[in-house]
C-alpha cells in the first residue's frame, strides 16, 4: 500500500512547482490530465524577478560590530563628499538598506575578529548571471549597484580594520602602562608591595568585565547595512579615541620622559583609565540600547499594495534604525504579499471605461481646456448609473462560497488522512516492513489529500507559496509532534495567508529595500515624519505619531463610602 501511495506521490510531484523548471519541460512532463498546468506556470513567472534579487546582495556588514569602533572622522568626510557630489539639493534622499541573507533573529552569536574582517571579502557584488534574459533597465540597475557596493566594500574594510585597531589599542593600553616602567627602568622603581598587588587584581577583573561587556554588546551579527553612519556609534568611537590618546599623551610626557619612580602612582593611573573605559562602555549601553526602549512614538506602517497596516511602538530612534526595526517586524507581522489577490475581476473593470467624448463649442482660446474637459467627463461618468458595484458584490460572494466549499473539502480530507496514521507504541508488535519514519508517513498521507489541497490553494491563489516539498516538510513536522487534527496546524497554515517569514527563504524575495525620506536619515524620529520603504512591487509607508503625554490624576475612594439605598415601592393599606 505504501509503495502504491509513493508512486502516486511521484506522479503528483511533477506539476506541483519545482524550484526552477523551464516552462516547456514542465508542460511536456504532464501527461493526459491537464490539471497541473496552471500551478507551474504562475510560480515560474513570479520567480523570474527574484532570482535577480537573491543573487544581488549579500552584504553582511553593518556598523554594529565591536570592531567598527573606528575613527569615524574618515568615514564622515568620505560620506559627505559622496553625498555632495550626488545631489546638492535637499530633495528626496533615497538610500539603500540591504539586509543580509542570514536569519534575522540571530543576533547573539559570538563572532571573533577574524570573521568580521572576512565578511568584506565574501560580500558578493551583483553578478548579473541569471538564466533569463535581462532588459536594459536591469543592466543599468546592476551597474549602479556594482558601483555602490564597490565603493562601500573598500570603506567597510577600512572601517572594520580601524575599529579592530582601536579596540585592540584600548584593551592593550592599560597593560602597556603597567608593564613599561617595569621593563624600562626597573632598578629605579620604588618597591611596591601589597597595595600594588591589590590594584593589579582590580585591573585584571575590570579588564575581564570590560571584555565580557564588549563581547555582549558589540560582537553581534549585524542585522542590516545602514545607508548613513550611525551617529551614536561614531560619537562613541571618537570618544574612545580621544580618551586613549589623551591618556597616552599624559603618560608619555609625565611618566616615560621623567621616569617616574612611584610605581603605585602609575598603577593607580592605569586603574583610572580602565574605569574610564568601563564608563564609556556604560555610556554605550545607554545610548545604543536603553534609549530606544522606552516607547515614545507610534509608527504606522501601511503596505501600499493592499492596505495591510500595523502599528508599532518605538523609542527614540533615527529614521534609518526605525526603518530597520519596521522591516524586522514586517517579516513576521504582515501577511505575505500576494499580487494575485489584488486585482478586481476583469468583468467588473471592463465596464468602467466611460464612453464620453467632449466637444467644445465656441472659441478655442481657453488655456485650461483640458482640465475643464476632464472634469466634465468625470462628472458625467459619476452621474451615469453603472452597475459594476453590483457585479463586484456578486463576484465576491461567489468567490467566498467557492473558497469555503474547497476549504471544507480540504479539512475533511486532512482529517481523514490523519486517521490512518498512528504512533507506534513500544508494546505493539508490528512487522518491520510496516514501520515508517515521519518522512514516509508524511508521503503516505499526502497522496490522499493532495488533490483537495491543490484545489484549495489554487482557489485562494496561494499556490506559488507552497511547493510540494514544503508541504511534505510541514506534514512531517506535524506528524512528529503529534499535532491533532483539531489543532490543525496543517490546515491553519494553509487556510490563512501567514506572515512572510513562515515561508521558505526564497519567498522572502528581495531583501533589498530602498528608504525614501524627505529628511536626512540620521535625524531622529519626530512627530509627523513620514518615510517610505520601497520595493519593486510595493512600498511600505510609515508615518510617525508621538505618544501623547498622559496626565494621570488620582482619586481616592474610601471603601466605606460605598453605600446604597433601596428603591422603594411600598403600598400600605389604611
Amino acid at each position: 500500500k505504501i509503495e502504491s501511495l509513493k508512486v502516486t506521490v511521484d506522479f503528483l510531484k511533477v506539476p506541483l512547482g519545482l524550484k526552477k523548471p523551464p516552462l516547456k519541460e514542465a508542460l511536456a512532463a504532464v501527461p493526459g490530465p491537464g490539471r497541473a498546468k496552471p500551478f507551474g506556470v504562475e510560480r515560474h513567472k513570479s520567480r523570474r524577478c527574484d532570482t535577480m534579487d537573491n543573487e544581488s546582495q549579500y552584504s553582511g556588514y553593518s556598523y554594529k560590530s565591536g570592531h567598527s569602533r573606528s575613527s569615524r572622522k574618515h568615514r564622515d568626510r568620505r560620506d559627505r563628499h559622496r553625498s555632495k557630489s550626488r545631489d546638492g539639493s535637499r530633495g528626496d534622499k533615497s538610500v539603500t538598506i540591504q539586509a543580509p541573507g542570514e536569519p534575522l533573529l540571530d543576533n547573539e552569536s559570538t563572532r571573533g575578529d577574524e570573521r568580521d574582517d572576512n565578511w568584506g571579502e565574501t560580500t558578493t557584488v551583483v553578478t548579473g548571471t541569471s538564466e533569463h534574459s535581462i532588459s536594459h533597465d536591469d543592466i543599468t540597475r546592476i551597474t549602479k549597484d556594482m558601483e555602490d557596493s564597490a565603493h562601500l566594500d573598500c570603506s567597510r574594510h577600512l572601517g572594520v580594520s580601524l575599529a579592530a585597531a582601536l579596540a585592540l589599542l584600548a584593551f592593550v593600553t592599560p597593560l602597556a602602562f603597567m608593564v613599561l616602567p617595569q621593563l624600562l627602568w626597573r632598578e629605579e622603581l620604588e618597591p611596591c608591595g601589597t597595595p600594588c598587588e591589590g590594584l593589579f587584581i582590580s585591573v585584571a577583573f575590570k579588564l575581564l568585565i570590560l571584555l565580557l561587556g564588549s563581547w555582549a554588546l558589540f560582537f553581534r551579527r549585524p542585522k542590516a547595512f545602514f545607508p548613513r553612519i550611525f551617529v551614536f556609534r561614531a560619537l562613541l568611537m571618537v570618544l574612545v579615541f580621544l580618551l586613549v590618546v589623551s591618556y597616552w599623551l599624559f603618560y608619555g610626557v609625565r611618566i616615560l620622559d621623567s621616569r617616574e619612580r612611584n610605581y603605585q602612582g602609575v598603577v593607580q593611573y592605569t586603574v583610572s583609565l580602565v574605569d574610564a573605559l568601563l564608563f564609556v562602555h556604560y555610556l554605550a549601553v545607554v545610548l545604543l540600547e536603553l534609549r530606544q526602549l522606552q516607547p515614545q512614538f507610534t509608527l504606522k506602517a501601511v503596505r501600499s499594495a493592499d492596505g495591510a497596516s500595523r502599528f508599532y511602538n518605538v523609542g527614540h530612534l533615527s529614521i534609518q534604525r526605525a526603518a530597520v526595526w519596521i522591516l524586522e517586524n514586517y517579516y513576521h507581522d504582515f501577511p505575505v504579499y500576494n499580487p494575485a489577490l489584488l486585482n478586481l475581476p476583469k468583468s467588473v473593470l471592463s465596464k468602467k471605461m466611460s464612453g464620453f467624448k467632449v466637444y467644445s463649442l465656441g472659441e478655442e482660446n481657453t488655456t485650461n481646456n483640458s482640465t475643464g474637459q476632464s472634469r466634465a467627463v468625470i462628472a458625467a461618468a459619476a452621474r451615469r448609473r453603472d452597475n459594476s458595484h453590483n457585479e463586484y458584490y456578486y463576484e465576491e460572494a461567489e468567490h467566498e462560497r467557492r473558497v469555503r466549499k474547497r476549504r471544507a473539502r480540504l479539512v475533511v480530507a486532512v482529517e481523514e488522512a490523519f486517521t490512518h496514521i498512528k504512533r507506534l507504541q513500544e508494546e505493539d508488535q508490528k512487522n518491520p516492513r510496516e514501520i515508517m519514519d515521519p518522512r514516509e508517513a508524511a508521503q503516505a498521507i499526502f497522496a490522499s489529500m493532495a488533490r483537495a489541497m491543490q484545489k484549495y490553494l489554487r482557489t485562494t491563489k496561494q499556490q506559488p507559496y507552497h511547493t510540494m516539498e514544503s508541504i511534505l516538510q510541514h506534514l512531517e513536522f506535524c506528524i512528529t509532534h503529534d499535532m491533532t487534527p483539531k489543532v490543525r496546524r496543517v490546515g491553519r497554515r494553509y487556510l490563512t495567508a501567514g506572515p512572510t517569514i513562515q515561508y521558505h527563504k526564497d519567498r522572502w524575495l528581495a531583501k533589498q529595500w530602498t528608504l525614501v525620506s524627505e529628511e536626512p536619515v540620521t535625524n531622529g524620529l519626530k512627530d509627523g515624519v513620514v518615510f517610505v520603504l520601497k520595493r519593486q512591487d510595493f512600498s511600505l509607508v510609515v508615518s510617525t505619531k508621538k505618544i501623547p503625554f498622559f496626565k494621570l490624576s488620582e482619586e481616592f475612594v474610601d471603601p466605606k463610602s460605598h453605600k446604597f439605598v433601596m428603591r422603594l415601592q411600598s403600598e400600605t393599606s389604611v
Binding site: 428603591r567 422603594l568 415601592q569 411600598s570 403600598e571 400600605t572 393599606s573 389604611v574
Partner: protein, 122 residues
C-alpha cells in the same frame, strides 16, 4: 386617535367614614407613593416624576368605595393637610389618626378611560 390629546382632570371631595374593626379604624383602601419612594414605578401617575400619594387598591364594600374613592386617584389633601409633598409614612399617619372618625379627602382623577388605559398599560 391620540388619546393623549385630551384627558380630563377634575377634583373631587370625598368624605369617608371610618369603619371600626376591633381596635382599628380602617378606611378600606391602600396607598402608594411618597417623596421617599420611587415614582417611576407608579402605574397610575401620568407624570412619572410625580411623587404624590395615589390610591392603589380599594377594598370591595369598604368605606372608601362607598364614599366614591376610585383606584388611581391622587390624594391632594386629607382634612386640610397637604399630601403632595409627604413621605409614605407621613401619609399613612395622616390617614390613620385615632381620634378622627371622618376624613375628608381632596382627590384628583383623570378621566375614567385614561385611568383604565394607564392601569392596563402598566
Amino acid at each position: 386617535p391620540t388619546i393623549l390629546s385630551y384627558f380630563i382632570f377634575f377634583q373631587q371631595r370625598i368624605e369617608i367614614h371610618k369603619l371600626r374593626q376591633g381596635d382599628n379604624l380602617i378606611l378600606g383602601f391602600s396607598i402608594g407613593g411618597g417623596i421617599d419612594q420611587d415614582p417611576t414605578q407608579n402605574p397610575f401617575s401620568e407624570d412619572k416624576t410625580d411623587k404624590g400619594i395615589y390610591v392603589t387598591r380599594v377594598t370591595e364594600g369598604g368605606p372608601a368605595e362607598v364614599a366614591g374613592l376610585q383606584i388611581g386617584d391622587k390624594i391632594m389633601q386629607v382634612n386640610g393637610w397637604d399630601m403632595t409633598m409627604v413621605t409614605h409614612d407621613q401619609a399613612r399617619k395622616r390617614l390613620t389618626k385615632r381620634n378622627e372618625e371622618v376624613v375628608r379627602l381632596l382627590v384628583t382623577r383623570q378621566s375614567l378611560q385614561k385611568a383604565v388605559q394607564q392601569s392596563m398599560m402598566s
